[in-house]
Symmetry: C2
Subunit: 243 residues, 2 copies
């Protein structure tokens, strides 16, 4: 037990959708107290450095260890696994030194976050590691507030489709749910617009990019988006009821 108590605690901290004011009080406290801030760093998107930018204005990072974890964005499973194993080993190394580590993640740590992949790998190395997740505001809640568009009321159901480029999954979700939230729309904007036209839902959709950030964008006429690179932080909310 003595080793356990000396081991640091790993926190997965949701820092919210972008606006530093949408961090929770708990996130702020944990980030202020933790001697180590870990942030995923992938090669081809700016998502992760973003999480670090969000917190830098709110907490003093001087004197803290900033542990940037190289996590490749690739479909090559061997490369992915090697990256995650290395990241987990680095986290475990800090915890073994008795240091608490706050792993920051955009949005919420339990929804499409790297944190949830890493926890089991850290526990392989430190079975007794204490781990706590600090829930955060999701991108789609921030988008709905920005567009003043209720996601669901009463008995309405909601579907979250993380790969909007899988158009048949999107079509199925549109048939079975009252509201559909499409993530990663940047990869398939023209296809989504065509699909929404086919389903007569083009006027029931709102595009939101970088909700809560100073450069947020809300587009209700989706046809104007055709041919655009919408960026990583964009999503589309489709409501089958009136909008």
């Amino acid at each position: 037990m003595s080793n356990v108590s000396k081991t640091g605690k790993l926190y997965g901290v949701g820092v919210g959708p972008g606006d530093p004011e949408l961090m929770t009080l708990k996130a702020l406290r944990v980030l202020k107290d933790a001697p180590v801030i870990a942030a995923p760093k992938s090669s081809n998107i700016d998502a992760d450095s973003n999480a670090l930018e969000i917190i830098k204005g709110s907490i003093g990072v001087e004197g803290k260890v900033i542990l940037e974890l190289g996590l490749p964005m690739t479909k090559d499973r061997a490369v992915l696994k090697a990256g995650r194993d290395k990241a987990a080993a680095e986290l475990a190394g800090m915890l073994e030194k008795g240091l608490d580590v706050a792993f920051i993640t955009l949005g919420d740590p339990m929804l499409y976050s790297t944190f949830s992949y890493l926890v089991p790998l850290v526990r392989e190395r430190l079975p007794h590691a204490r781990v706590e997740a600090v829930a955060g505001v999701t991108s789609f809640c921030a988008a709905a507030s920005a567009a003043m568009l209720p996601l669901a009321e009463g008995s309405e159901s909601v579907a979250i489709e993380p790969c909007a480029y899988k158009l048949e999954d999107v079509r199925r979700a549109l048939k079975t749910s009252d509201t559909v939230i499409l993530l990663k729309v940047n990869k398939a904007l023209d296809g989504i617009i065509k699909l929404l036209e086919e389903e007569s839902l083009l006027n029931n959709a709102v595009f939101v990019s970088r909700a809560s950030c100073s450069d947020a964008e809300i587009v209700t006429d989706l046809k104007t988006l055709k041919g655009r690179d919408a960026g990583y932080f964009s999503l589309i909310i489709v409501k089958k009821g009136s909008i």
Copy 2:
């Protein structure tokens, strides 16, 4: 335009799932600044007084107007409409006096919140009213963090079913989504358990009640819940993949 600028601003403030520390910095600021705090108050659940309890520990409410809005929980449409119209008139009255109003809501103001019903009714009375929603942490994100159960990773889809007592909707969602979040499970716990058994998903489900509160409860053996009144703030997360 002069009337517009004199009119107060209506905020829908998500105060999160229960733990006052899961309020956002923005929620705290808006609540501290607003001279009027409006809270829905329904007759037969403790949900609304809860929202008021959450904030009372964090902001000084002395000197503020606390506007408790009687909003009946009923299926009688006429009674519902009368209650909402009265609430909207009370909100509009405060705004017309030039007072900013912070309407507090558990979780997020755009997901199953009374706020989204009231905004159009307020705008009927004050077409130029400025309205802003402040996104909050949802109950299901808090539940997932409490249970350390990732809601979704990678390409997994999520369905939110707000009426877990509509068992055929639940069955359909279980077939089409990787993760299903069942709200209002207290009304149909035995039926849900039976359904999950039929679908061979009983061991893939976690029950969470009052996540993030001091009396939070996490139950992984759902059979032990049979015959129980699970309470208003309980939900079940079902993951078709390993749990």
